[in-house]
Amino acid sequence: MADDDASPRGGDRTGPDASSGEPDREPSSRAGRPADAEPAGGTAGFSGAGPFAESFTGAEPRAGLPPRTNLPPRWASGRRTLAKPDGLSFAARLARLAVVVMLLVGAVVVGAVTVTGIGPPSEDDLRRRAGLLDKRQLLIGVKDDQPGMSQRENGVYQGFDVEIAYLVAADLGFARADVKLLTIESEDRARRQALDVTTKKIVTVDLVVATFSITRAREDDPDVTFSAPYLRTEQSVLTRKTSRKYEALSDLENEKVCTLNTTTSKQNLEAAGVQPVGKNKISECVKGLESGAYAAVSTDAAILAGFVYANPGKFTIHDIGAEGSELYGINVGTNQALKTLVDLALYRSYTDPTDRRWENAYDTYLRREQPVAMPQQVAVATQPEVGKPRVRFWPWEDER
């Protein structure tokens, strides 16, 4: 439509000529268009206004004044800008300008936000970032000698921790067959070094689900990143069957007490003035207790209750009234994306009422121990609260 560029200056174009050059004009305005007579000098002030004028002046037959131009009436009459009854005042123009500028700035900001997709990552993004795609096996370090929590019998791991490990693995996209459980010792939990008994290899596992209490000192370790807690228990004391009552850790002051190395229990015992014997495996402590080498074993109630349940009539568990609880977390090492995914799995299990996997694991392995552990509570029977991880959900996932 190059010929629209022609200004009707000097009246060089007549009506029919102009009409034929403007096929895109609406027929109604074309029909009502008078001759393109132009008042001399009427357009002299603006050289390029021609196309606009042609396209937009309706120039329909006006009631009162005779059609004399194809320019907007305001311009043709010389009253170009101000003082129109419909609010063409300068203030209105300024207000409009402000709004236009605000909208443009807002559009740029919102456009940038929309295009770059700033926001929490989606589950797929996290799986990619966590390196879970194309991963054949998920390696999880668990204990192998804690009945009820995680015990290896005939090559099969069983217990609450194992169920939690499978729960998380399933949400990470790993079927049970693709999950490989490995035995890990307490001192190796921070470094995630586990022994593969079949190949006698020491490997770094992806997750550690091994009664690993969340503490400030461990969180400060750069190798350790804890997920949200999955079980809440407290420290307790195990002795041979006795009617004597231990009601505080300090009651063990002059006794031979066994506990696990590098655990919160050991620190608590030391703080209470007890000098415990440290072992790497709680089963060794319990063996020593059985044989009379130690007077007591102290660690978390969830671990000790399993031994009471597995050996009926042999041991007594004591409620020492420990203040503060032990919150078990999953160590994901340095993989922050994996931490978010594990949190997401625990969050789903926590929020979804139809997801009974945590509850079933508790009922199967811990609830049955409660009668023999009385009055010590084995563990809190509800899943610890999990904060909403920063993940983009499907909207309907939020509505549960």
């Binding site: 050289s47 390029g48 009854p85 609010g87 993004d125 490989k180 490997v203 983009r392 959900f393 909207p395």
Partner: protein, 346 residues
């Protein structure tokens, strides 16, 4: 100012000069398609040649169409509204190509752009769409029927104010939701066009008009194609599959215990013939897999990303377009096939 006959050659010359635009217009999509293949081949020319040989142009164009169908209305409607604003504001608007183009855009183009946008734009952009349409209408009326103050008042004041009130009723609750959920950008998208509408139906101060219209459009014209290209190069053009293969896997460090002999290759199918399947792996490697070695194949659905916003307007999620709302969609919460995650199906 000179008289007509002198201007005539200028006009013709300019018209001739612009013919190349018509030739250049299809070049942009073509450039996009080539860019897409180059991106897919990870800048490897040999891979790209293989892709060019096998990728169907129809598939590429289909992908281009589905991905970018919402784009033309953006250019048409925003350009038209800015041009209209320039026309009513500035007395020498004709100097700007924006005003000239806006002045020449026929009504049916605007209306069809609006129709396309209405079904393809996400809900959160629909307030903007409504605003653009009403602004275009009002500015047009202001230009054409300048001397009908009553009509101007109705179209430029009464209708926008009424539409804004309606918009506040419609989008107000969702805006509050968005603010409550910490999504200021969604709140802005929902309510800003509604509130701004009554202010956009008239001229702005003439000296600033060119800056906020012409130069903004110029910037959009420069940045727009780049954004379009960025969006398109990420659109899938080949089906994404996972193939389970017979064979011994390499003894990777992170596998423990006895190893099974199946491997899984994730990638995109370039072509299948009677001997082998040609796959473009996710890392950019081209693999020719003998058909005998293939145990199973599975189509991996798009990793459909959940929306960024959780806001709904009367039950309509703000990131869904009318088209996707109307068209049947697959249920997205089926568990991911392990093969699509790189593990054999157990």
């Amino acid at each position: 100012m000179t008289s007509g006959p002198v201007m005539l050659p200028t006009r013709r010359r300019r018209g001739r000069d612009q013919q190349w635009m018509l030739t250049a217009l299809p070049a942009f999509p073509l450039l996009l398609l080539v860019l897409r293949l180059w991106y897919l081949s990870r800048q490897d020319l040999q891979t790209m040649l293989l892709l060019v040989q096998n990728v169907s142009p129809l598939g590429l164009i289909g992908s281009l169409l589905i991905t970018l169908v919402w784009v033309p209305p953006v250019f048409i409607l925003v350009g038209r509204a800015l041009g209209g604003l320039l026309l009513v504001s500035s007395i020498d608007a004709g100097r700007s190509w924006l005003a000239r183009t806006a002045g020449r855009t026929p009504g049916w183009v605007v209306v069809s752009a609006f129709a396309v946008a209405a079904v393809t734009w996400e809900l959160r952009f629909l307030p903007t769409l409504g605003m653009l349409l009403l602004v275009i209408l009002a500015l047009d009326v202001r230009l054409r029927y300048e001397d009908h103050p009553r009509l101007v008042r109705v179209v430029c004041v009464a209708i926008p104010v009424a539409a804004a009130l309606l918009g506040v009723l419609l989008f107000g609750p969702a805006t509050l939701d968005a603010l409550g959920m910490g999504e200021p950008e969604t709140a802005f998208l929902l309510i800003a066009p509604v509130l701004a509408l009554p202010f956009l139906t008239g001229p702005v101060p003439a000296p600033s008009a060119r800056l906020v219209t012409h130069w903004v459009a110029m910037a959009g014209l420069v940045i727009g194609p780049i954004l379009v290209a960025v969006i398109f190069v990420q659109a899938p053009v080949l089906p994404s599959v996972a193939v389970e293969l017979k064979g011994t896997p390499t003894d990777s460090a992170d596998t423990v215990g006895e190893q099974d002999t199946t491997t899984v290759v994730r990638g995109q199918v370039i072509t299948v013939d009677d001997r082998s399947t040609t796959l473009l792996e996710s890392g950019g490697k081209v693999e020719f897999v003998p058909n005998d070695a293939v145990i199973s194949q599975v189509l991996c659905p798009d990793p459909i990303a959940p929306p960024y916003s959780a806001v709904k307007v009367h039950g309509w999620q703000v990131e869904r377009a009318m088209l996707s709302w109307l068209a049947p969609s697959r249920s997205v919460r089926e568990p991911t096939d392990p093969r699509c995650l790189g593990r054999p199906a157990s």
